[in-house]
């Protein structure tokens, strides 16, 4: 279980805002962080990965304290064992597809590399460099690389935002595949309602840094529609 209780000042397009999140995420959830641009979704994901230090609070994964401002604990990203997929995929341009995946491994295991390349249909691309790949191919390599490290938590920062509609639909299946293979918690940033409903088992609806609703996507969106109808 991932327990989060953090506060963090951030600058948004509407001015200063405070990201305040207090929640618990069960194991094996595929949780979507949903909200408009600048709501704080990516900042929250970066704080969980250890890439940004929260101003205050505590993050605990199972029994491991990742962050505790009171006790001055801040475990670096290298030791949190999270698989983070960046919006721009962040594939290493100097490495081939196969080397990108192998680089992520803690111990060299060619069988695992072959299995991941087969799962994400990358065998024919294994010697290509990232600069030679399409957006969808890069996304599959980034997913395979994130899984190669056998992470405790998989974190996806708007994994489908750079792709066209058809590609998004096709690659939603790849994300589900990655989540099932890893059999652990997946956190995904999205601002696409269809994507959240299609993929997520639960969601946090974040607005201006605050969680305004959480639960199953259909329940959260139904409640939002109901509230809008009441306000109309």
């Amino acid at each position: 279980m991932l327990k989060i209780d953090i506060q963090h000042a951030m600058l948004t397009s509407d001015g200063k805002a405070t990201l305040e999140v207090c929640t618990e995420i069960e194991d094996r959830e595929l949780l979507c962080l949903f909200g408009h641009s600048g709501a704080g979704k990516t900042t929250l994901l970066r704080i969980l990965a250890g890439l940004t230090k929260a101003d205050k609070g505590r993050i605990v994964f199972n029994d491991d304290v990742w962050f505790d401002s009171a006790q001055k604990i801040n475990i670096p990203p290298q030791q949190r064992n999270v698989g983070f997929m960046f919006q721009d995929y962040a594939l290493f341009p100097n490495m081939s597809v196969e080397r990108n995946i192998r680089f992520a491994q803690k111990c060299s295991d060619q069988n695992q590399v072959d299995m991941l390349m087969e799962l994400f249909e990358l065998q024919s691309l294994k010697n290509q460099k990232p600069g030679q790949l399409s957006g969808g191919q890069k996304q599959r390599v980034a997913l395979a690389r994130a899984l190669a490290a056998k992470p405790n938590v998989l974190m996806l920062d708007e994994p489908l935002s750079a792709l066209d509609f058809e590609m998004r639909l096709a690659l939603q299946g790849e994300i589900r595949k990655a989540h099932n293979l890893l059999d652990t918690t997946t956190l995904m940033v999205s601002h696409d309602v269809d994507e959240v409903i299609s993929l997520a088992s639960s969601m946090l609806f974040i607005r201006n840094g605050k969680v305004i609703s959480e639960g199953r996507p259909d329940e959260v969106f139904d409640a939002c529609v109901f509230r809008k109808v009441l306000q109309a």
């Binding site: 949190r80 290493f92 341009p93």
Partner: protein, 223 residues
């Protein structure tokens, strides 16, 4: 070709090679700090490193010569501890050359590091890689054109250096007499043919180095 000619060219190459190798080792940590760290005196440090690009070489040479004097603290310290006299010696010219060529090494390295997307470094960290592993496996291979530019620019600049060398090293054959000084000396002695030979070698070497830099940068733009 006479012995002096060969000796002068070898000394020029030796000075440029040592300067480039030592600056590559010293320059990378400095460029890394300037590229990725924020600290209070950063603009001052950047200005200080860039000073040799705008300062007349004779000014730097004059201050270096003063510092080398055994009557000053630095010169006295070096002479007592290492038993080395810096003024009018190869070691003294090398130290002056290191300082004078610093911006030619640091600036391309710093630009190369800054040009690498932050997410590449962060991706490496989230994959459990240390800063050293990230440096050698991710940063260095993705900034090779900047590294080659830094090496070539430092080497080329060092080969052509005149003002600082003549101030701190003078014109001692086999010790401090590099090609640029030999050209000046030969012209003063009206030996235009020898001056022409030195000039031709420096012209060709500089041209080759610059062609190498432009061809590498051209390939980078095409990719």
């Amino acid at each position: 070709m006479n012995q002096d000619f060969i000796q002068t060219l070898l000394l020029t190459g030796k000075l440029a090679t040592w300067t480039t190798v030592l600056l590559l080792v010293v320059g990378f940590p400095i460029a890394y700090l300037l590229a990725y760290k924020r600290f209070f005196f950063k603009p001052f440090v950047e200005a200080l490193i860039s000073m040799p690009m705008v300062l007349p070489p004779t000014v730097l040479g004059f201050y270096m010569l003063m510092a080398y004097s055994p009557q000053n603290v630095f010169g006295a310290f070096i002479q007592q501890v290492f038993n080395v006299r810096l003024a009018f010696s190869f070691e003294g010219v090398l130290l002056a050359s290191l300082i004078f060529s610093l911006p030619f090494m640091i600036q391309p390295l710093q630009n190369g590091l800054v040009s690498i997307s932050v997410s590449l470094r962060e991706a490496s960290y989230t994959l459990g890689k240390s800063k050293w592993q990230t440096f050698f496996h991710v940063l260095v291979p993705n900034m090779l054109p900047s590294i080659i530019t830094a090496i070539a620019m430092t080497f080329a600049h060092c080969i052509g250096e005149f003002g600082v060398v003549i101030m701190v090293g003078g014109n001692m054959p086999g010790e401090t007499r590099v090609a640029s000084i030999a050209i000046y000396d030969e012209v003063q002695s009206l030996n235009y043919e020898t001056a022409n030979q030195y000039s031709f070698v420096l012209f060709i070497v500089s041209m080759l180095i610059l062609t190498l830099i432009y061809s590498i940068n051209g390939k980078k733009k095409l990719l």
